[in-house]
Symmetry: D3
Amino acid sequence: MVEVVTFGEAMLRLSPPADGRLETTPQFDVTVGGSESNVAALASRLGRDAIWLSKLPDDPLGRRVAGQLRRDGVEPVVCWSDEGRVGTYYLESGDPPRGTDVVYDRAGSAVTTVQPGDLDTETVESAEVFHTSGITPALSDATAQTTAQLLSIASQSGTTVSFDLNYRSKLWSHAEARDTLEPLLADVDLLFAPRRDTESILGIDAAAQEMARHLAGTYGIETVVVTMGGDGALALHEGECYEQSVYPASDRRPIGTGDAFVGGFLAALVETDDLDTALSWGAAAAALKRSIPGDIATITPDEVREVIDGATPDISR
Amino acid sequence: MVEVVTFGEAMLRLSPPADGRLETTPQFDVTVGGSESNVAALASRLGRDAIWLSKLPDDPLGRRVAGQLRRDGVEPVVCWSDEGRVGTYYLESGDPPRGTDVVYDRAGSAVTTVQPGDLDTETVESAEVFHTSGITPALSDATAQTTAQLLSIASQSGTTVSFDLNYRSKLWSHAEARDTLEPLLADVDLLFAPRRDTESILGIDAAAQEMARHLAGTYGIETVVVTMGGDGALALHEGECYEQSVYPASDRRPIGTGDAFVGGFLAALVETDDLDTALSWGAAAAALKRSIPGDIATITPDEVREVIDGATPDISR
Amino acid sequence: MVEVVTFGEAMLRLSPPADGRLETTPQFDVTVGGSESNVAALASRLGRDAIWLSKLPDDPLGRRVAGQLRRDGVEPVVCWSDEGRVGTYYLESGDPPRGTDVVYDRAGSAVTTVQPGDLDTETVESAEVFHTSGITPALSDATAQTTAQLLSIASQSGTTVSFDLNYRSKLWSHAEARDTLEPLLADVDLLFAPRRDTESILGIDAAAQEMARHLAGTYGIETVVVTMGGDGALALHEGECYEQSVYPASDRRPIGTGDAFVGGFLAALVETDDLDTALSWGAAAAALKRSIPGDIATITPDEVREVIDGATPDISR
Amino acid sequence: MVEVVTFGEAMLRLSPPADGRLETTPQFDVTVGGSESNVAALASRLGRDAIWLSKLPDDPLGRRVAGQLRRDGVEPVVCWSDEGRVGTYYLESGDPPRGTDVVYDRAGSAVTTVQPGDLDTETVESAEVFHTSGITPALSDATAQTTAQLLSIASQSGTTVSFDLNYRSKLWSHAEARDTLEPLLADVDLLFAPRRDTESILGIDAAAQEMARHLAGTYGIETVVVTMGGDGALALHEGECYEQSVYPASDRRPIGTGDAFVGGFLAALVETDDLDTALSWGAAAAALKRSIPGDIATITPDEVREVIDGATPDISR
Amino acid sequence: MVEVVTFGEAMLRLSPPADGRLETTPQFDVTVGGSESNVAALASRLGRDAIWLSKLPDDPLGRRVAGQLRRDGVEPVVCWSDEGRVGTYYLESGDPPRGTDVVYDRAGSAVTTVQPGDLDTETVESAEVFHTSGITPALSDATAQTTAQLLSIASQSGTTVSFDLNYRSKLWSHAEARDTLEPLLADVDLLFAPRRDTESILGIDAAAQEMARHLAGTYGIETVVVTMGGDGALALHEGECYEQSVYPASDRRPIGTGDAFVGGFLAALVETDDLDTALSWGAAAAALKRSIPGDIATITPDEVREVIDGATPDISR
Amino acid sequence: MVEVVTFGEAMLRLSPPADGRLETTPQFDVTVGGSESNVAALASRLGRDAIWLSKLPDDPLGRRVAGQLRRDGVEPVVCWSDEGRVGTYYLESGDPPRGTDVVYDRAGSAVTTVQPGDLDTETVESAEVFHTSGITPALSDATAQTTAQLLSIASQSGTTVSFDLNYRSKLWSHAEARDTLEPLLADVDLLFAPRRDTESILGIDAAAQEMARHLAGTYGIETVVVTMGGDGALALHEGECYEQSVYPASDRRPIGTGDAFVGGFLAALVETDDLDTALSWGAAAAALKRSIPGDIATITPDEVREVIDGATPDISR
């Protein structure tokens, strides 16, 4: 039985080294990123078996994506396609007042034509946790339908269904997101609900605890985790509230922080079944991610524990 | 009056430094390339006024393409679009037995929706030479129709119409190419016909001189230049044949060699109106291109002259 | 009619990547910088037609300077010389207590022999604004005389004459600067006066507003802009004062901040003729510059507007 | 049942970029290499299941080695140790008359203390092919004893035992090698015997075919493959000889060529059980390796087929 | 007479550029570092004659170490060995909550077999100051014995004996350190005692001044310098106390800060024989070090003076 | 007594990595080069004591030049100047038909104002060999006069005076060279005479042996070495001829080949006093230089011996 299975798109991430601009940089650093593959990679690095389901073109760039995830311990179970492309995104970041700019170039990627029959649904049935996010159904009608079907398969198999709202304004409107995501929530057991996305998509404007209760009640979700950026996170489970503040961290490299939270949370939850532990691992992984270039939190369990224990970052020699 | 106007797509070119593989390289070198923009850039570098017409997305990558061409002296007259993407292509090269591998990722680029109304057709009317290639109509129905219309406008304005067959098997079949390109040839005054493309698309299987006569006769083209790779080139004009062998060159960096030939040829033709000179400038530019990384032949008139004069490459100090 | 014409020297800028030292770095990043070309590049990027007048050696390094400026949209109208060199400067920066160190190596550059006859003075006559700085007359007697003559031509043609005091202690003494610059101010319509330079060169020791009035009164200058580093800027025009505070910004990359202020100010002034707008564009461009490697503020009008509107730098995706 | 299992050491390989010298290069490229892991990686890339057995320190560098192999599709089944280091080697190469220089720094690596009990010997029992080389027993007494035991286990389980003589003069003398290796050959089913190593270690000085017969006869080996550098290779099986010449290739990047031969050979043999096919895949993989930086032949089955089919390396676009 | 002679190990330092991780970085920056060679290099850069004694393998990496020190003005008087390796260490650093991680790979380095007879002990006898640190005797029995002998030689020759406790927990335990170091202190004239090391090794838990008096009294040391990180430093000499606070500095690049303090202190002491000056030069060098990549403080006397004088780090141009 | 003392200019060498063009490369590799410092560095690397005399500005770039030479074992005895700059040169190279292009930017360098009093002439008097080249007197009147005086001092002190004609057409004309160099030859004991320079400057058009006899006779030179590029070299001493052919080598990296010949020759001559040995060491060093990036032949005596012994460049592992 696999512990964590995720489904989604992983893209090439192209970013200028050293604060350069997309318009003028002579080189791009190349890494791989995608919300659900980031989660799988971190879960694997923290000790869980992890599989990532997707569809990729059978070319060097597709192989690159799969190989990169293997390096972080994920088993990529991929439908190799003769059509479609690898999605790419360009990431530029800089000191304030420049922010972080993302240029998506992901239309027409192979995964946008994915059908349930393309994927190994048995891995979903046998998984302990199945996870995907609101990005995946936003990619195309095909991904929306496949997402719905996988959530349903997972739910019927007794697999814990984990879902991160993860709204992307460059992919769809609030209304489109709501219309597609609301029906999916019926199958969800564990919901990661960024506060801002919850307000904008689901129209729930309330304090975090109230927001969690509203989500749990309205959609019948067993565990709701509301994430609030610098204000920490809160989990609601069987009426009980668990709170977590953030660990001190850099404010650079925000990309992938949310995925690190989810990955750390799931890795700990699967092992300990304890929400306090899961929250602290999520928060510590998110803090560490901000020190790591790339989308994926290439960290170790020991590093997570050191953050939680408040070990001061000194020279170890 | 502008001397040279070209029309087509320019893409980001992403290539691994130092013989790395697309699948594993940690960085990509970023340059800009496209057959018609390469021609315009070289013509400009060799002293001609040059304008490049195209459509680009109004984002950092679109600005990068335009800025890069400006650096080489081309005036990019661009329709800035809120939709579409910058086409990209991935280039990998290595020692034999590895060859040069191109992964196109150009579907859905902004130029595929170009309409004649998007472009400044007055520049075409007032140009001395208007040039495009068989790549452009291969991109989409819209580019095919716009190409046809620009060729017609140029032809009616007395602008010399230059066309390079430039077949790309990853864009269309031989049959599709023939069906689209043959009607266009009626407006062409100067045809660059790679021998292999001429055989495969137009079905003309003959020695170079015969091939040129066939093309000139069948399509009523004033000047036909048949290019034969390592076997040199041959021009036919008013029944007279002009021949040109290749200059010694590296066998690395083949990308852009054909465009360098056309750019060198046009630059010299506009200035001297002499076919022998044009052929030798084309051949010398093509030889030099093989020493230059990137798509564009960033060379100078003096370097072209030194190649033609057979000056030995020694240290100049 | 060209909107902005500037005159001055642009140099190669060689700087160690990643906080390295000039003494030991194995590589230099190469960019192009010069006060007046920086101003022209930013004005162009913000939508103005911009021409830069100068003299460069006809070699690859001279072509590099011109090409780089073309990339940023400037038309370099250059006297190409067989003599002289491209000026260079070495820039090293690091965390405190290391500061920013500049090693000038600009003696004998081609521009130091420039004569008015080398330049296309018609562009000055037909410009909306002509801009240069106190650096240019400091380079040589020839540049001092040519500067004087161009200012005079501009003034007589009704072109707005813009001047930035821009004192460089490595080029001349306070006394030399005063003796050369004071006579030039008679032709100036718009003066950028860094507070510290005004004190040290012109001996005016007063609060900013008083300083501006003194400058306007003594030299008969229509508009005086006193810049005060972290204390913001102040403009005086027809007796009225306009104030501008700084926008939050990094304290890295100070080089080119002043030029970004001038470029943003001029770009907005030419378009809107409104001093408040000009001041805010200048201040916003200066803030953004501190996030950009290199001398030139490679920014966009939208980015300037976002800084002025106080849009928080968040991830846009 | 796993198809290919290998056992040995994988090291960090540190090499100066761009022909630099170990003594002066400011940077090292970092890759991972080791004869048996190279073989496993290529076998995996060509479609076989592959496991690599070894012992590594539980630190970032150990994780790097394992992660890198996973990227190439190998499952690293590793004994993670709190003691010992990752072996490293420094590789410098350059144009003639400089050759390729290797500085080994592998003493005290974790694998030198490996015991059979550290490893998952069940994978050896269930493998189709078990492969190691003469490098492994040269590392330490412990590796020599563990190698002997694994060969014995494999032999008794019906697993095909593959062995590459792979003499390294910096690790041991000819006499030491002979004394250790000869007893091991009793368990070997498939021997890769570089001609030069066979002469120097085993003292067999004969033409290739004779050498193969001698090896097969003396040590009772079912299949013997004699490799002869530029002179190709020859296999002897049940008295029958199979010959293979080399494919044209660069003379750069010799490191890993022998491993690419073995990996290609094994990958094809497991799939087809045909010695002619195995030889041609070995030779083609070796030729391709010479175009690939790093130790591992990051190639695809299609590329191997193209070399065998003699497809000319042209631009594919 | 040489002014400063130091004895110890210098290693290759391999570190990922740009905040990368040891596990995944594609390149390492290569520099040279070692506590005593760092001290010698800075002393030399600040104007003292400096010799570094050690043992290195006679290979490109050994030559690299020697050459690098020569570049910083140190004369490496080295016993070139056919055995042993160059010690290496891997350094990774990143934003909090990641700290600075050091992976030592120095076992078996050539210096661990050093004998007094390998070294030019006459340089020690004729030196003004002989310096080593607690790292050196921690490396092996041989280095411990050689250290003892060199300290004794120096002491008997009237050379000032300088010693830095410099405890490294990855090399030995507190108890081992105490047992080895205490006997050495009898020969020491000038002791650098980091407060934390003094507590943990020598068990002296007291305020700084008390700690210094205790050290001076117990071991009969003429001058004791207690360093206290961000709390500054304190020197005790003939019963008199000299205090020094820290200069403002970055909190990045902590490696080598202590050595910079010692190097700056010794350089000033040898020249001025004034403890206040020595303390301020030590503190200023340590502050500057934090702005410099690598182990060695590649700084100049002028830069030290500017820090002491509180000159604001502004652009000098 | 120092074995080899040289006098001349060393410059920063700035070159694009990876075949890039000066006009467009985003980075320059930085090394140090100069004919006489190249000779000193190689002599030192091959085991001789070597001093280089020159004048440099007291800034980070001047320190860089000195530090770089120290790394290669040369003791730079430098007059540190507050005026003048470090000369630079830009080097671009590429595959044919591009050659090697040098852009000198060395006017106004500190050494152009050197006076004999600036230099430590005692090192010249006590040297075994004093060497300079025709480049040095070409730099300025001051360097010409200082060169003459140093040659005279060396000659009168019994130091062997070595001189390389080394004509640079970008520094002076044939006539100027002849007028300056001919008088200097009176003091020369050992002349390196490139065939082409001898023809063009001294007007001696003859076969190599004849040329050598002519030079020896006309100018009274004890030993004349005529170098003939790919045709090898010939030495004439006391009427006897010694011939040397070239060793196989790359045709890349020609810069510094001549200096490597001289450095290898002098290193061997000083040690063995044997012209055959000196010629073979010169030729082998020149061959090796072509495999080494940068100006300086960073090679070892063993590598020279291997070339002479014809050891095949194989992998040493």
